[in-house]
């Protein structure tokens, strides 16, 4: 979730909104008490609608990517369970060929909604860390110089955080095949393409049955 209050300028805008919000209620109330109540309900409904649809609107306006000073080709990889998959490794090797590439892996700490809301994230983060460590070791063994970190449980937020930290030139999102992928079902790949002005490659990793777990990303 994006916090609308990040700076003093945001707070100043909020002062304006508050003045307009209450001024209309007062004007309505002066004319008629029920009109004032109606204005209050109407304004509040518009406000709730604006807050709810804000996330959708933001997805249609791609964010500009931060720049970096070196000439390396920076690849941000977002993957969880599929992070050590062969298809992903092959894709990264192909992209790192002939250029000086830096790979940064973000492994979202996937969690159930209930555990997320009660802040029970320790196990999810431990699992993500363990998968990340294994995959980084596999990538290094395959000749790809990679580093990484655990990301937010919301993959879109994890991508955004990764972009702020790493300033990539392109994104690679790795998922299970259609039908088994929770991320594809939620439209994460399309949402990423809509939200960030950065080339996005989607890699499908078909893990062997014994390597899959209950959480599918």
């Amino acid at each position: 979730m994006r916090n609308p209050f990040r700076t003093e300028a945001d707070a100043f805008r909020f002062v304006w909104l508050t003045i307009i919000y209450f001024a209309l209620i007062v004007i309505g109330s002066v004319i008629n008490t029920w009109l004032g109540l109606g204005v209050f309900i109407g304004e509040t409904a518009i406000l709730i609608w604006w807050i709810v649809t804000r996330g959708l609107r933001e997805q249609t306006e791609p964010e500009a990517m931060p720049g970096h000073e070196d000439d390396d080709h920076r690849i941000l990889v977002v993957a969880n369970e599929t992070v050590g998959g062969e298809e992903l490794l092959d894709e990264l090797k192909r992209r790192a060929e002939g250029v000086r590439a830096q790979v940064f892996v973000v492994s979202p700490a996937l969690n159930s909604k209930l555990r997320h809301w009660v802040s029970d994230e320790d196990q999810a983060r431990l699992d993500a860390q363990s998968r990340l460590d294994e995959s980084l070791a596999t990538m290094r063994a395959a000749g790809i110089e990679a580093r990484g970190q655990i990301g937010d449980s919301d993959p879109l937020q994890a991508i955004e955080d990764g972009i702020r930290i790493f300033a990539p030139d392109e994104l690679v999102i790795s998922t299970h095949p259609e039908g088994r992928s929770n991320w594809l079902e939620r439209g994460i790949v399309d949402a990423t393409r809509g939200r960030f002005a950065c080339p996005v490659t989607h890699v499908v990793v078909d893990l062997p049955l014994d390597e899959r777990s209950a959480t599918t990303a």
Partner: protein, 209 residues
Amino acid sequence: MSAADVPHIPAHAHGDANLHPPPIHWSSRISHLIVGIFLFIGSEIMLFGSFFTVYFFDRVVNPNTTQWPPEGFIRPWYIALINTCILVTSSFTVHWATTSIKRGNRTGLQCGLALTFLLGLTFLLTQVVEYHRIGFNTSDGAFPSTFFGLTGLHGFHVFVGLMILLVMTVRSFRGHFSPEEHHGIEVGGIYWHFVDVMWIVVYVTVYVL
């Protein structure tokens, strides 16, 4: 077991290595230098919320309340309206100060902060005069109690804001802050806007409606 029998356990054996704060998490997209003031304001909103609950309970739920305000009490809405204008203007001046330092305009910063402080002080002094002439006291019933409770709580926040503004103003005249480093202005400005917003809510609910 005597003290001598207790084996010496080195500090690191207790897992002290894990006693560090978690790494900075950017998911909120707010600078970690700013997030503290928003958390503080969140707690302040809850405090004001409890006072508003008492106020609306007395006004709406209390079966002894037949009209609002109760007979014999007159709310000085006109003086409070002037005070509202003063406080809203002070939000403009503190915003001017913040944008000035971001552009490297030190004079704008100093003038903006000094004006904001003076406007805040005027607001507080006007409120003191209003209390003095209002004609009722906290012991006169539930309405005056909630009236003084809410406006007094806000007045206290204005006082705290003035102290913060005073420090900001003195620092600005001593050459502190720059276009790159103005965290103290940003945080103080956010707090002042919060005080302004809370007053608008207090004014509308307590004085007008």
